[in-house]
């Protein structure tokens, strides 16, 4: 088992425990790698350097192989994401149906470009390639939900609503 420097281990105790739990659940075969990474991404909004090294160690593969997998798939990433991740479909049927206006409104409302996360950590804005909602374009994924036939004004309402939800929670 990999020996981490004491301060690294102390700073990541929760993460390491989470990984060991996931390994117990999914097994230590290489086939378990992607489910483990998906769960880490879901739980912790990031697949960190320490996470990749510990997962690599538990599955008996080099850390660069873990990074290779993380950087291959759109929905795995080493950078932390915001609380809400918006994936706007940019592929043909959506592009033909006004995706550009949705993109512009999202960037305007959130004050960030695609590939970025708002400074308050609330939103991450990303592109998606065809999300299979071509019959109801333009479409986007908000976290794990698909939203279809989105209009620019709905985007504004959506962002406003999610922001209010959080400030409401803080207010309460």
């Amino acid at each position: 088992m990999i020996t981490l420097p004491a301060e690294v281990e102390a700073a990541n105790a929760g993460l390491i425990e989470a990984i060991d739990d996931l390994v117990a659940e999914y097994g230590d075969d290489r086939s378990a790698l992607i489910p483990i990474l998906q769960a880490l991404r879901q739980q912790r909004r990031q697949i960190s350097d320490v996470a990749m090294q510990v997962v690599a160690d538990r599955l008996g593969i080099p850390p660069v192989d873990v990074q290779g997998v993380v950087t291959f798939y759109h929905f795995l990433d080493t950078t932390p994401t915001g609380t809400h991740v918006i994936h706007l479909c940019r592929t043909i049927s959506c592009a033909m149906a006004g995706m550009g206006a949705i993109a512009a409104r999202l960037e305007h409302e959130l004050g960030i470009s695609f590939g970025e996360t708002t400074p308050d950590g609330l939103f991450t804005l990303s592109w998606a390639n065809c999300i299979g909602m071509c019959d109801a374009p333009p479409a986007l994924l908000l976290n794990r939900q698909a939203l279809a036939r989105v209009t620019p004004d709905q985007v504004s309402e959506l962002v406003l609503g999610l922001r209010a939800e959080v400030s409401g929670m803080i207010g309460a």
Partner: protein, 390 residues
Amino acid sequence: MTLATIEAEQGLRAALALDPAGVVATIRESGMKGRGGAGFPTGLKWQLAAEAVAPDGVRYVVCNADEGEPGTFKDRVLLAELPDLVFEGMTIGGYAIGSHEGICYLRGEYVYLLADLEACLERRRAAGLLGPDVAGSGFAFDITIHLGSGAYVCGEETALIESLEGRRGEPRNRPPFPVVSGFRGAPTVVNNVETFAWAAAILARGADWFAHIGTDRSTGPKLLSVSGDVQRPGVYEFPLGVSIAEVIEAAGGHDAKAAIVGGAAGTCVPARDFGRAISYEDVSTGGAVIVVGPWRDLLEVAENLQWFFANESCGQCTPCRVGNVKLLEGIRALRRGELTVQQLEDMVSLGQTMRIASKCGLGQAAPNVLLSIIENYRSEVLGHIPVGAR
């Protein structure tokens, strides 16, 4: 939709009443070819997997629910509306090839279907339709769902298998084919969602019923995803052999300039060819028909799709990794009026090489739409080239 009218578990009961070879024979007799687009005869695929030598007797049935082809959404609708029929088809496939383990590879973008699909599997287990004794037949089969993580190339069956094994979704060399050596080296049948649904229907209604629909070489009905510049985008069922015009008509497309049949990996069919048939012997498709209205700039469409391929290429092989970027740069230069005729010819030559020399179907199909646009709309394309550069 025919599939919605198939009586629940009728196909499974019919299959279990036959021996596995009988099930394979039924599928062969139906003449069904894979509904994902490649068009390999499903019965033959099952037969090869059944006959392949399996170490420890392990074989796998994999449902390819990584529906990533732009313009395709019929599998999403099937999984949402008729998941039982899909899982029933997988169970029949398992029985036919001697597999006890099915895996449904669900694309990450469809994560919102996951809970319902898991619930469906749970219901089927509770009803004895999955588990150690399927429908009291003594046949053991169960299905797990593996969620993808966002990679179009994983729709390619060997890339899908690599992904299942915890690796980058990089397609393998074939041979060996998955029916011989697939997931974990075991014989593996990978079929499209729709293929499994029709397999259940064929067992329920008989091979003859299916074989008498469609054309001689393209039997059966097919689900088509129609989108783009039409009034009523959606999933439509037609017998194979239907003309493109009929499909566009049904969805309410008027004065269409072109139809991209087969999605990003398909081909751009000009209006004058709308009489052509959607079938394996004519215009083949996994189900996408993207209708392009008369006001569209086809090069804008081509640029969008080429960007898609450049972004989704796994990066393994030279023609696809570099070729897609070069085609994209070329389209952009063409749209800016900065391309010469010689450079356009080089792009065509590059596209032709990608078609035959790329390692997998993604790279081989990536130049299709562009090449068909250059071929079918030559004067429109040449119009983007400055007179001095012609």
